[in-house]
């Protein structure tokens, strides 16, 4: 619980407007980064529905595939993909800052850690893609 602050007379206490995040490009980028989580969750809910329809039989599966091929759903997934990629990029860049990796008494530079994460992301994505492409 955040406790209310005691205000002393004579001092002027500035208030932060609800539009504070629009005032600086860095704050806007921060909001976009946070909003990526909404699109990621939305996609995963859609994915869960897809999976459920798989279990309901071939007609149900065909119906859901036809729905997803519509322009509206394709647009949703393109937008979700953009936000998901933005999440991945910002996340891996920040991983270098958050996770300290020490070898002996030297600290690995954050750029190296981030680079490693990006490389791993590429490899994992490729492996999953190939898994679906093989037959």
């Amino acid at each position: 619980m955040t406790t209310p602050r005691v205000e002393r007379p004579g001092l002027y206490y500035p208030k932060l407007p609800a539009t504070w995040w629009l005032r600086r490009p860095n704050y806007v980028r921060f909001m976009i980064r946070e909003v990526t989580s909404v699109f990621i969750a939305a996609f995963l809910v859609v994915l869960l529905c897809q999976i459920r329809q798989v279990g309901q039989g071939p007609e149900a599966y065909a119906a859901v595939m036809a729905r997803l091929a519509s322009p509206g759903w394709v647009l949703f997934h393109v937008v979700a993909l953009a936000f998901a990629i933005y999440h991945s990029i910002t996340w891996f860049n920040l991983t270098g800052v958050v996770q300290v990796v020490r070898i002996g008494d030297r600290q690995l530079p954050p750029a190296l850690i981030a680079g490693g994460a990006f490389a791993a992301w590429g490899v994992v994505s490729l492996v999953i893609l190939l898994f679906f492409l093989r037959g």
Binding site: M1, T2, T3, R5, E7, R8, G10, L11, Y12, Y13, P14, L16, W20, W21, R23, R24, N26, Y27, F30, E34, L94, V97, V98, Q99, V100, D105, R106, Q107
Partner: protein, 249 residues
């Protein structure tokens, strides 16, 4: 007044007289090598002696002259007028702090938080002088050196929307200094700082906006200190949940 001039729009606030701050325009000489602090000193010396503001070393090591320059927290001794040509330059008191008068803000909240994190070496038992000094390798120094560069200028608090919205938040500089001492090989005081950092108004309020590290004039990177403290705090929390018989370290 020489040919080239620049206009400053400076916040004025008189406690007891004004209900809220207002802006006053001053025209000062423009010199290529002047900083905003030089302009403020010119105003106080030649135009309006009642203007109130803090400054001291004028070289970026004391942390006294932090103000908002065109909406960005800056040390006014390091903000060159030439970067704001043709102006006008808006000079306001440091954001997110109560305004005492004109450009002077109240530091009390930060000072209290600084003391709360106990920013000094804590030992179980003090090493007797006869045993000599604490020895530290360059590698041990490297671990915390960056976080020791803080000059307590509070630009990071002015940049932090979380501090603006939740004034109880311990804030970037205090957290970074706690982290600095926790990392110091000479220090044995982690168990005193840990409850402060892991408190509900400690590091857990931070949403890693990261603007604190962007505005820091000394490259301290308080955002990194806070996130790393979250990692340590999460590990402590997990240990206390899984092994409650161990006292908090």
């Amino acid at each position: 007044m020489p040919d080239e001039t620049i206009t400053l729009e400076v916040t004025r606030y008189r406690p007891g007289h004004d209900r809220e701050p207002r802006s006053q325009s001053f025209t000062v000489p423009y010199r290529k090598d002047w900083v905003v602090l030089d302009a403020l000193n010119y105003i106080k010396d030649r135009i309006d002696g009642t203007l109130s503001y803090r400054w001291s070393c004028r070289m970026g090591v004391c942390g006294s002259c932090g103000m908002m320059v065109n909406g960005v927290p800056k040390l006014t001794c390091a903000a060159f007028l030439r970067d704001f040509q043709p102006g006008p330059v808006r000079v306001e008191p440091l954001a997110n702090f109560p305004v005492v008068r004109d450009l002077v803000i109240s530091l009390d909240d930060f000072m209290e938080k600084l003391l709360r994190v106990k920013p000094w070496i804590i030992r179980q038992t003090e090493k007797p002088v006869a045993e000599g000094e604490h020895r530290q390798t360059p590698a041990q120094l490297e671990v915390f050196k960056q976080f020791s560069m803080c000059i307590n200028c509070m630009l990071c608090y002015a940049a932090c929307p979380v501090y603006a919205m939740h004034p109880g938040f311990i804030g970037p500089a205090a957290a970074a200094l706690a982290y600095r001492y926790n990392l110091d090989s000479r220090d044995e005081g982690y168990r005193f700082r840990e409850p402060v950092l892991n408190d509900s108004v400690g590091v857990w309020e931070c949403t890693f906006i990261g603007e604190c590290s962007v505005v820091c004039p000394k490259g301290v990177d308080p955002a990194a200190a806070i996130q790393r403290s979250k990692v340590a705090g999460a590990q402590d929390w997990a240990k206390s949940m899984l092994m409650p018989w161990r006292g908090r370290s």
